[in-house]
């Protein structure tokens, strides 16, 4: 074994330091080829008949990509067609340095057996190692190393009589200089594009090619559309001196020409800077971290209330854009103007692969097409593909490669197809991907931490647990619920007081901190409920079996037990880990029936009645303290059991028992919150709901005023009281509408760590402190709260991360994010099923109410379906009617009719699938009749099956 040494000098931050490292060169590194007879390797990776059919290389060959090819064309390399690739150590190391995610993907490729990818350790091979020459840059040296290794391979294969098979090595590089030098030394070398395009029978690969720099110029005209981005050094200097602000760009959902940048500043809570117009947006994409320069005050604008969707055909010239932007330029009242700025540079791109659909170019032979992402905040992306015809009607994923300053749209490439649009599975996948919901099956590592079946309670489990199996415990849940995480009991004590217990599934007994199962659950954060599908946070064995408090089986629980008098005043609270045996799993309706049935006097029913009585008192007390009762319409689909298509839809009804369970859950949460905060003032995980800033209520106040109703928003109590008395004669639905509007004014409730914040108040529940304790099966926050509580009562041991407030706080951030995303995903799923529903229904004519008035549209709520839709008054193909918008009302005058908030209108609802790429619910006005705007009532109106709900 030949060993020799070379010396490598290295500088490190601070000073120059000479570092000497040994570098052994070996003669026992084999080539890894099946065809080679010289090397003494035990197993080979590269195949003898390495055949990828290609026009350029008709002989079997191995591919040697250089670093840049790997970095930019990893999508290609991942394709199963590309096999027999030699990854040089030099390349691997460079990739590792440059991009961690790509390195990870490259490693995955290398590990895949069928891909036949061999890693050649060229830096330690005695014949392929080269030293950096004086004056040679590191990159040049690496390029040379790659060439030397490729050269060695081709000679080696020749020498070892692989010649007979005609085996050759093909170097792939996009670097012109490198290519030339390689050709001079007699290597077979191609550009990546050249090679991929030459592949016979695999034309779709070409679409995955990321566009490299020199190609971008060909695509667009030379006209520069956007100002240049500033270099990072100037941005940093600008941010330091205060001339630029740094923040995350949030594009508007309704208007593609508008975005806000949320700027976090030390002295205040942060401000929002409005960015308007393509020029000012300057190629920033939703979620990018950007540097913003404020415009002079006289150029400040107000956020426009126009709903604008970028729907025009591919426009490369900026002429039409100017027209588009003119729509925005209206003189706004001085007061409405906001801080306005323009993007001067991008600090960090936050691009990910986007889901969406292809808009096929109008020119038949064209290979350049626009891609419309499902997320409206993402601009359309231009991609190049030859398989457009087969991609039509499919949901695809596309990655952005870059956005040159002379292109109206960013350039990207096709990644993969998800399936046909409109198909339920595809759409579900899309909305999970778009909302970043982790939905893969649980890995083996995670499953390995599940308890072994058959599972039973062991004597060790009983230590530190109370045996409550004798109590008459029952659970009340929605129908079809399999993850039952709470159960209740109530009994009269000898002293005449009542004992009430809330028993919560003891999930933290099964999920121990720090293992893979725990990490996975912490990452998922919450179970996501979609229509007809549930994405579990914990594996099903736990969620639907071991942790689910089903009837007539022994289950581990965490109990919160109060002693109360008949006025529902708490006399004593205690927490304990326990074993329970639920006597019945009821639905809300069943529980209600038992309570109402006066003949029924069994233990369960008596217990339920006691609970119900107390719950009513608790609710009254809570409302007296100023808790808000808000409203939002939730719909429930009746699914066909065979096809899982929605066959009917109904708004969720609330029964007394719903609120009964809710009251006790709130009580348990509040009690636990107090306990853990007393015990761990620095690291308790709590939930707060901040009071909304007064400006949030503007829309509510204006709306109420239009009906001469006074709403007070000074405090939660004032709001609750004034909502209670807000009524308009002959308009029973008014109050609900107001509550819906009030809901929209609220802030998001969030998890936080008590040591990192001082404001604990929960505005909506009017409670000084609150947390989540009652649903550990579906929320990770509850698991942490369980652990904290268990430590507080001495039932479990603590661990380092539990009491680290920074770790806790980071966890809260993830939970809040997952929570928000799961809500969005849920809504999107409902929206999709609503579309499916209307698809089968045809055109309906329904009554609705105007919820908002916009500059060119009204937003109508159909209470029957809980559906919200927009009625546009200007459309591209028709002459626009006379529209006058008054911001004070706000009202919209169309021809001779004026729309106010809460006006009752009739609309037709239909599914607009003329454009299969973006199906949507279309609403058109039928009443009031406005010439040229409203449409005729459809002739054959299908009879609605159900009577309208009276609310």
């Amino acid at each position: 074994m030949l060993k020799s040494k070379t010396f490598v000098k290295k500088t490190r931050s601070g000073g120059v330091m000479k570092i000497v490292r040994e570098h052994y060169l070996r003669d026992d590194i084999w080539c890894g080829s099946e065809a080679c007879t010289e090397c003494k390797h035990e197993s080979t990776v590269l195949q003898k008949d390495a055949c990828i059919e290609s026009n350029l290389c008709s002989y079997p060959h191995y591919l040697v990509p250089d670093t840049n090819v790997v970095l930019h064309q990893i999508d290609i390399l991942e394709d199963p067609v590309i096999r027999n690739v030699i990854i040089l150590q030099t390349v691997l190391q460079e990739v590792r340095h440059r991009s961690a995610p790509i390195y990870k993907r490259l490693k995955d490729i290398i590990h895949e057996k069928e891909k036949h990818v061999y890693t050649f350790t060229n830096e330690h091979h005695k014949e392929t190692f080269i030293e950096r020459e004086p004056g040679e840059s590191a990159n040049d040296r690496n390029d040379r190393a790659i060439r030397v290794a490729a050269k060695w391979y081709s000679q080696h294969l020749k020498a070892s009589e692989a010649e007979a098979d005609g085996l050759k090595v093909v170097l792939l590089t996009n670097d012109q200089g490198n290519k030339q030098k390689a050709e001079e030394s007699g290597l077979l070398v191609y550009k990546c594009e050249e090679y991929i395009k030459s592949l016979i029978a695999n034309p779709e690969l070409v679409d995955r090619l990321a566009l490299s720099n020199d190609e971008k110029n060909e695509i667009t005209s030379s006209k520069v559309l956007f100002p240049e981005h500033l270099p990072l050094s100037r941005i940093q200097a600008g941010i330091k001196s205060g001339t630029f602000l740094q923040g995350t760009l949030r594009a508007s959902r309704d208007n593609y020409l508008e975005a806000t940048v949320f700027v976090q500043r030390e002295q205040d809570d942060g401000t929002e800077v409005l960015i308007q117009g393509l020029q000012n947006l300057n190629r920033a994409v939703h979620q990018d971290v950007v540097a913003v320069q404020l415009l002079p005050r006289n150029q400040w604008v107000a956020p426009s209330s126009v709903v604008l969707q970028d729907e025009g055909p591919a426009k490369d010239d900026g002429v039409e854009d100017e027209d588009e932007e003119n729509v925005l330029k209206t003189s706004a009242a001085e007061s409405a103007r906001k801080l306005t700025g323009k993007v001067v540079g991008i600090i960090k791109r936050n691009w990910r692969p986007f889901c969406g659909m292809l808009n096929v170019s109008h020119i038949k032979e064209s290979t350049r097409h626009l891609f419309t992402p499902a997320d409206r905040r993402i601009p359309r992306i231009r991609i190049e593909t030859r398989q457009a015809s087969s991609l039509v009607g499919q949901r695809i994923m596309v990655a952005i490669d870059g956005w040159p300053k002379d292109s109206r749209y960013p350039n990207g490439h096709f990644v993969r197809s998800l399936g046909g649009a409109g198909e339920k599975d595809t759409e579900q996948e899309v909305l999970l991907l778009e909302h970043d919901v982790p939905h893969q099956a649980f890995s083996q590592a995670v499953l390995s931490f599940l308890p072994k079946m058959p599972w039973s309670i062991t004597p060790e489990d009983m230590v530190k647990r109370e045996d409550l199996r004798s109590l008459t415990v029952c659970s009340v849940d929605p129908p079809g619920c399999t993850d039952i995480d709470d159960a209740l009991h109530c009994r009269e004590l000898e002293n005449g007081n009542l004992e009430v217990g809330v028993h919560i599934a003891d999930v933290s007994h099964f999920i121990r901190s720090g293992n893979a199962l725990d990490k996975e659950a912490a990452n998922r954060g919450t179970t996501v409920y979609l229509c007809g599908k549930r994405i579990d946070m914990v594996p099903e064995l736990l969620s639907s079996n071991l942790c689910s408090l089903r009837s007539n089986v022994d289950r581990l629980a965490f109990s919160c037990i109060w002693e109360m008098n008949h006025k529902a005043e708490i006399l004593k609270t205690r927490f304990t880990k326990s074993v329970i045996n639920s006597k019945a799993s009821l639905t809300y309706a069943e529980a209600q029936m038992r309570i109402d049935d006066t003949n029924n006097n069994d233990d369960i029913t008596v217990s339920l009645r006691g609970l119900n009585k107390l719950a009513k008192i608790l609710k009254r007390q809570r409302i007296a303290k100023g808790a808000l009762t808000l409203s939002s319409l939730e719909v429930r689909f009746h699914m066909d059991s065979e096809t899982h298509d929605p066959i009917d839809l109904q708004t969720k009804e609330l029964m007394e028992t719903n609120s009964m369970v809710e009251e006790f859950m709130l009580l348990a949460n509040i009690s636990v919150a107090q306990k853990i905060h007393d015990e761990f003032p620095e690291c308790a995980l709590l939930r707060k709901h901040p009071a909304p800033p007064p400006s949030n209520y503007d829309i509510l106040l204006k709306a109420a005023k239009s009906k001469d109703v006074e709403i007070h928003t000074d405090s939660a109590k004032a709001l609750a009281d004034s909502l209670d008395v807000a009524k308009v004669d002959g308009f029973p639905y008014f109050n609900t509408l107001l509550r819906i509007l009030a809901t929209r004014c609220m802030m998001q409730a969030v998890y936080f760590c008590s040591g990192m914040d001082s404001d604990f108040h929960h505005y909506g529940l009017a409670s000084p402190i609150y947390t989540h304790f009652t649903s550990p099966i579906r929320r990770y926050a509850d698991i942490i709260v369980h652990r904290l509580l268990a430590v507080a009562i001495g039932a479990d041991s603590t661990y380092a991360d539990l009491t680290d407030k920074h770790k806790q706080s980071a966890l809260c951030n993830n939970l809040n994010y997952r929570h928000k995303m799961s809500q969005y995903a849920q809504r999107a799923s409902v929206a999709f099923h609503t579309q499916l529903f209307f698809k089968s229904r045809g055109v309906l004519n329904e009554e609705g109410f105007v919820l908002f008035v916009r500059k060119n549209a009204i937003i109508v709520l159909i209470p029957k379906f809980g559906l919200e839709g927009t009625v546009f008054f200007d459309s591209k193909d028709k002459a626009a009617p006379n529209i006058a918008f008054d911001e004070e009302g706000p009202t919209l005058k169309v021809e001779h009719h004026t729309f106010h908030i809460f006006d009752k209108v009739k609309v037709t609802i239909s599914l607009d699938d003329s454009n299969i790429q973006h199906q949507k619910i279309r609403m058109a006005l039928t009443e009031p009749v406005i010439a040229g705007v409203s449409v005729a009532i459809p002739d054959a109106e299908p009879q609605a099956k159900k009577p309208k709900l009276d609310r």
């Binding site: 570092i19 040994e22 570098h23 890693t119 330690h124």
Partner: protein
């Protein structure tokens, strides 16, 4: 930027060695004439000089005299120029005191001290260039020096450090590996009998892995002993040729 990849998927380490391979060991005995025994040893880029005086009668405080065996006195030091950063290294700092103590323990186990009651053996070791595995290089150099001095030993004492990365034990760590967050273990072995003269580890390691790690260290030590044996034989041959003339 990610840290260094200590062991690649292909099984090569940073400097191109495989997991069980030692660095190149080169040694010379009898480099100084005044001393009773001396040796110079290179293990890769770690270079050490060992000098042995004795056995001689006790010097300094006589109270340390042992009546049944010899006292072994070890002193370890590092040259100012031994690391990348030039640093003054005062005598008797904590690190070198500890190292001296370890050397002492190692050689008390190997040298047949009972042959020289009431006397003293001095072993001085200096690291000239440091690139990981200082302790083991010192032990290996000192062994040669003791042999050069003609002091009887039970066996060669060979030492080696091993680290544990990706479930694989790495033999003979270099500096980059030692500082790369590897839990390393130093082991001194009397190879023929397989007795362990010293085992030292101050990093965290799962108990399950300890056995494999010790196993790997012993294999590596045996490798070192083979090289040392060759050096000694070579040296003897040269000497006998010289004296034969």
């Amino acid at each position: 930027m990610a840290g260094l990849e200590l062991l690649s998927d292909q099984g090569y380490r940073l400097d191109g060695r495989k997991a069980t391979e030692l660095r190149k060991v080169q040694a010379r005995m009898g480099v100084f004439a005044q001393a009773d025994g001396s040796a110079y040893l290179e293990q890769g880029n770690t270079k050490a000089l060992a000098v042995v005086y004795g056995p001689h009668e006790m010097r300094g405080s006589r109270s340390r005299t042992l009546h049944d065996r010899a006292v072994i006195n070890c002193q370890y030091s590092m040259a100012t120029f031994s690391t990348a950063e030039r640093k003054r290294r005062p005598h008797g700092d904590r690190k070198s005191t500890e190292m001296s103590l370890h050397l002492k323990q190692t050689f008390e186990a190997a040298v047949m001290t009972q042959l020289y009651p009431r006397s003293q053996i001095d072993i001085y070791v200096k690291i000239l260039q440091s690139d990981g595995g200082n302790y083991s290089v010192c032990v290996n150099a000192a062994t040669l020096a003791v042999i050069d001095a003609g002091i009887p030993m039970r066996d060669y004492v060979c030492a080696c450090t091993v680290g544990f990365v990706d479930e694989t034990p790495l033999a003979d760590l270099c500096f980059a590996e030692e500082s790369g967050g590897v839990s390393s273990l130093a082991l001194a072995l009397l190879p023929r009998g397989g007795q362990i003269a010293l085992l030292q580890m101050d990093a965290r390691l799962h108990q399950d892995h300890l056995e494999t790690l010790i196993e790997a260290a012993m294999t590596a030590c045996k490798g070192v002993s083979k090289v040392l044996d060759e050096v000694v034989r070579q040296h003897l041959q040269e000497r006998s040729v010289l004296s034969g003339e």
